[in-house]
Symmetry: C2
Subunit: 100 residues, 2 copies
């Protein structure tokens, strides 16, 4: 990719009770995909969860953070689903890929 | 954290045979931790694997990439363990954290 883009690294530790989490995560992923400036998402979970979403610019990230449904999900996340999380907003400076 | 730092996002799809992978991953993690400029590492794997390592500066990332043992691991990775991988080198511009 020639143009600059951004990554949001979201690392999290789930709480003991995560009722409703999977549905909400799925809903939020669908919603993120409809946002202007959305480029992609990658997720994995074992001991901790790591979700990286990719965005065209900082404005797109800001708008997604401020989205009302997403705000509600964030609030529920802090109340019910997460023991901790950390968000890092990053500028992708270089990338390379390997395919077999 | 006040000062700028960098994240290397490594996303990967494992090949069907991954004999020897776990040992090598562990060895590489131990080795990374001894590198100058190393700040931390976070890993998760489910459908895909995501490993994010954090570094003080681009020089530290370059040195780690060029480390001879790591070079050998990268070569074996391409030959045996990965169907694909993508590496993104990112500047962390902002971060925030939640703890219960």
């Amino acid at each position: 990719m020639d143009s600059t883009y951004y990554a949001v690294i979201f690392t999290s530790q789930q709480a003991e009770t995560i009722k409703g989490y999977d549905e909400m995560a799925q809903t939020m992923e669908s919603l993120a995909k409809q946002q202007p400036g959305y480029l992609g998402i990658e997720s994995a979970r074992s001991q901790i969860g790591i979700t990286v979403s990719y965005w065209e610019n900082l404005e797109a990230i800001k708008n997604w953070k401020a989205n009302l449904d997403h705000q509600m999900a964030q609030k529920l996340g802090r109340k019910q689903w997460y023991a901790w999380y950390k968000v890092r907003i990053c500028k992708v400076e270089r990338e390379y890929e390997f395919k077999k």
